[in-house]
């Protein structure tokens, strides 16, 4: 009876097969209590804290934060009786058969729904007294040669060299096609999928790293002593990259710039702040820029459209889902305000404030990120004058809004210090010609130059 117990990642939802370690809340050597939170794990369903199953001292942590771990694999070892002297060296995983998340008959992992992932080949229980069974119960059947490959080290604690592949490369047809498309030789790829098969991610990883690598095992966030850090491409970064590449190489971008005097806008903001109905709303320059974009889009509806190559149509939208690019700890996201054109200025202020706060807290729901039609990126918050933004996929225009600086400016024939900013508008040149893009940008600028007068004349 060992006192070092290994805790295996359970199925935290219903029928989940893996989870990503977000953060360890304990470290090796810590004394922990029963039910003390030890680790945060994110699955396809939820990010949750796992409480310790036993009290004791942490002797080993099997996976660093960022690792994606299969259900049923050990994640932490705990010495449940640390006062009893040195512990034995043969950790005995606490893996009770049939337990949810533990091994189940047939080499499967027990999960609540369905059969769960299989990690070994199925072995039939020998039938008693059947002539066809060549072996008796006393002699264990030697596993067939192929089976040696697929015993995916269920209790192997540390990632060691990948199993040597003896048979043909296992990969599903779409993965084989992907490998062909990317020029990746499957024989040189280390498969991490079931039965050592090569997955889509394996192929993409092989394509993105050096073609010449043969023996290095790609591991999450490896620091190999050189002065390079390897960060696994995943999550928001992966999504951002895919979106940017998709957009940059399908929509021909044009960017135009306009420098405008926004002194009157800044004064208008001060007046708004003083009004009681805006007492609990956040009144910022971004609010007026958003309003300017919405009003200008109403005057030039074609700007608020998307290119549908499959159907051979340009889809012009009667509603504006206004995207706001937000830098968050998890990376760039562009949540949008649904049907922003229908909101009053106060409602828009509240919506902007909520959107930014939720984004900063990392809790933006996927629905808020889908369906954007027109976007703003506020590079001014970083102290930058302007930039050439890349269109979010499916959108035809995005406005970069730069920092507002006191600048010498010709005002009524004299040089005065005025509040000045630079706008940068990128648009999809398949849909929007230079003339339309220029008119739209000019109108946005006109509003910011004199919001009161433009409001009176446009609406």
């Amino acid at each position: 009876m060992s006192r070092i117990k290994e805790f295996n990642l359970p199925d935290l939802g219903e029928g989940l097969t893996e989870g990503e370690i977000l953060a360890w809340l304990v470290k090796v050597g810590d004394t922990i209590e029963l039910n003390q939170p030890i680790v945060e794990v994110e699955t396809a369903k939820a990010a949750v804290e796992i409480p310790a199953k036993w009290g004791g001292v942490v002797t080993r942590i099997f996976h660093e934060a960022g690792a994606v771990v299969e259900v049923g694999r050990p994640i932490i070892a705990i010495d449940t009786d640390p006062t009893a002297g040195p512990a034995g060296t043969s950790p005995e995983g606490e893996t009770e058969a049939g337990l949810i998340g533990g091994p189940a008959p047939g080499g499967r992992t027990a999960v609540l729904v369905g059969y769960g992932p299989k990690t070994t080949t199925a072995k039939r229980r020998p039938r008693s007294g059947t002539a066809t069974a060549p072996t008796t119960a006393a002699t264990p059947t030697p596993p067939p040669a192929a089976a040696a490959v697929v015993v995916a080290a269920p209790v192997e604690p540390a990632p060691v060299a990948p199993p040597v592949r003896t048979g043909p490369v296992l990969a599903k047809p779409p993965v084989r096609k992907l490998a062909r498309d990317l020029g990746v030789d499957l024989a040189g790829v280390n498969g991490t999928g079931p039965l050592g098969s090569v997955t889509r991610d394996d192929v993409q990883l092989a394509a993105s790293t050096s073609r010449t690598r043969t023996e290095t095992v790609p591991a999450p966030s490896v620091s190999d002593g050189s002065r390079e850090q390897r960060i696994p491409i995943k999550g928001v970064r992966k999504l951002t990259a895919a979106n940017m590449v998709a957009s940059a190489f399908t929509a021909p971008h044009v960017t135009e710039f306009l420098t405008v005097d926004v002194t009157r806008s800044m004064k208008a903001l001060e007046k708004l702040k003083a009004r009681p109905e805006f007492a609990d709303a956040r009144v910022s320059p971004l609010l007026l820029v958003a309003k300017a974009v919405l009003l200008a889009a109403k005057r030039h509806p074609m700007v608020n459209s998307s290119w549908s190559g499959e159907t051979g149509e340009i889809v012009v939208k009667d509603y504006v889902n206004l995207g706001i690019a937000a830098a968050t700890e998890r990376g760039l996201i562009v949540p949008n305000i649904k049907d922003a054109g229908r909101l009053s200025l106060r409602e828009l202020a509240v919506a902007l404030d909520t959107l930014v706060k939720v984004a900063k807290s990392g809790k933006t729901p996927p629905s808020d990120m889908a369906g954007g039609t027109l976007s703003i990126t506020n590079v001014g918050v970083f102290g930058i004058d302007t930039g050439t933004p890349i269109l979010p996929p499916g959108e035809s225009a995005i406005l970069a809004f730069g920092v507002i600086r006191p600048t010498p400016w010709v005002h009524k024939g004299k040089i005065k210090v005025r509040q000045v900013t630079t706008l940068g508008l990128s648009f999809d040149h398949r849909i929007i010609d230079g003339e339309l893009g220029s008119k739209f940008l000019r109108d946005v600028g006109a509003f910011l130059t004199d919001p009161e007068a433009t409001l009176l004349s446009w609406t």
Partner: protein
């Protein structure tokens, strides 16, 4: 103290509710609603302390179940965190002869029925089918299908009437539990129609915890839920579901009306699910933290503790003892859950029919023989 239809205080939903204990632990002696009904409680000091003990115990047992799920010992768990007062208040209002029809979250009601809290764990651990004798415990099986238990309860309540067990002070009343989301189900509305038409001895107890998984209340209804009862021809009332005293008073009155032949009542216990819908859910994806924080201030346990302290009904050593007892119960529950045996494969055939059937018996025999054909099967 305050006497009136709605009570003073903050965060009271439009339309008001019956509240006898404010979030700050201030006692309100009685509340009289527009129909002239007066609600109050008359507890001894010991009874107040026992209510507190119930609330703490059911919360502690629930937290142990949540931990067990995270440790891979339960397939799923639906936490009652935040709804303790709604469950203990209504559960303690039941008389021994009354019949309860729970959802899958009524662990607190189960506890108040005097049932060993381990009973539903076989279901969530996957070692049995969650079956028990509803008549023995006066507590029906946990029902997973949303709202269907309201129809079972309706049929049962009609049976109570047909058996002549209603119409007196010691008659039998039925209580059906469900949530705000279930009110959008056809079953619940059918149950309302039937119970109203037949004037059945039933109390519909809706724990409005504001979310049907991720769907907020405003996607279920345009009127406060309790007002729906009017359309079906029986009274509806809203109670502060985080107030164990008011929940007790309102439920007790509704049950007594039912047992005396006065027909159904819909009670909307206005509360909040502090945790996830189930262990498979992540509420941070659809709720903002400030909302959760605002409900923390209305915690059912802390308000009763404040009341007991202010009234000098209980002191620190009592609270410490309650915590310790609850902790011991939770650890005992943990040990017993971990020791639950896996079922034999042939148990599959149990409980298909109460007295067996030739076909199932034959299948059982064939399966037993098949199992015995394996080496090491012990048969």
């Amino acid at each position: 103290m305050a006497k009136g239809e709605s009570v003073a205080g903050t965060d009271i939903p439009p339309g008001g509710f019956v509240q006898l204990l404010t979030p700050d632990g201030e006692r309100i002696d009685s509340v009289t609603t527009a129909d002239g009904t007066t609600y109050s409680v008359d507890f001894t000091d010991e009874e107040f302390r026992e209510l507190y003990r119930d609330l703490v115990t059911v919360r502690r047992l629930d937290s142990e179940a949540v931990a067990l799920q995270r440790q891979g010992e339960l397939g799923i768990w639906a936490s009652l965190l935040g709804q303790e007062a709604a469950q203990v208040g209504s559960g303690r209002a039941l008389r021994p002869q009354d019949m309860a029809f729970p959802t899958y979250r009524e662990h607190g009601v189960l506890y108040c029925r005097g049932i060993d809290p381990i009973m539903p764990f076989g279901l969530f651990r996957g070692v049995d089918q969650g079956g028990w004798d509803a008549n023995e415990f006066k507590f029906n099986q946990y029902t997973i299908v949303i709202g269907s238990q309201t129809l079972h309860a309706t049929g049962y309540a009609m049976g109570v009437t047909m058996d002549g067990r209603t119409g007196s002070a010691d008659g039998e009343a039925v209580i059906a539990y469900f949530g705000d989301g279930a009110t959008s189900q056809g079953e619940v509305n059918e149950a309302f129609v039937w119970s109203g038409v037949f004037n059945s001895p039933i109390v519909f107890f809706c724990q409005n915890n504001q979310y049907a998984i991720s769907e907020p209340l405003e996607r279920q209804t345009r009127v406060p839920l309790y007002q729906r009862a009017g359309g079906y021809g029986f009274p509806g009332i809203r109670v502060d579901g985080n107030d164990v005293l008011a929940t007790y008073a309102v439920t007790r009155a509704a049950l007594d009306n039912a047992r005396n032949g006065q027909g159904p009542t819909l009670i909307e216990a206005y509360t909040y699910r502090m945790g996830a819908h189930t262990s498979s859910d992540d509420p941070t994806r659809y709720r903002i933290s400030s909302e959760v924080e605002s409900w923390k201030a209305k915690d059912p346990i802390s308000r009763l503790r404040a009341f007991l302290t202010k009234q000098k009904i209980a002191k620190k050593d009592f609270f410490a003892q309650v915590d310790e007892d609850a902790n011991r119960k939770a650890l005992d529950l943990r040990e017993r859950v971990l020791a639950m045996p896996d079922p034999e494969p042939v148990a599959l055939f149990d409980h298909v029919y109460p007295h067996g059937s030739p076909e199932v018996d034959a299948q059982r025999a064939a399966f037993t023989e098949y199992q015995a054909s394996f080496e090491g099967s012990g048969h």
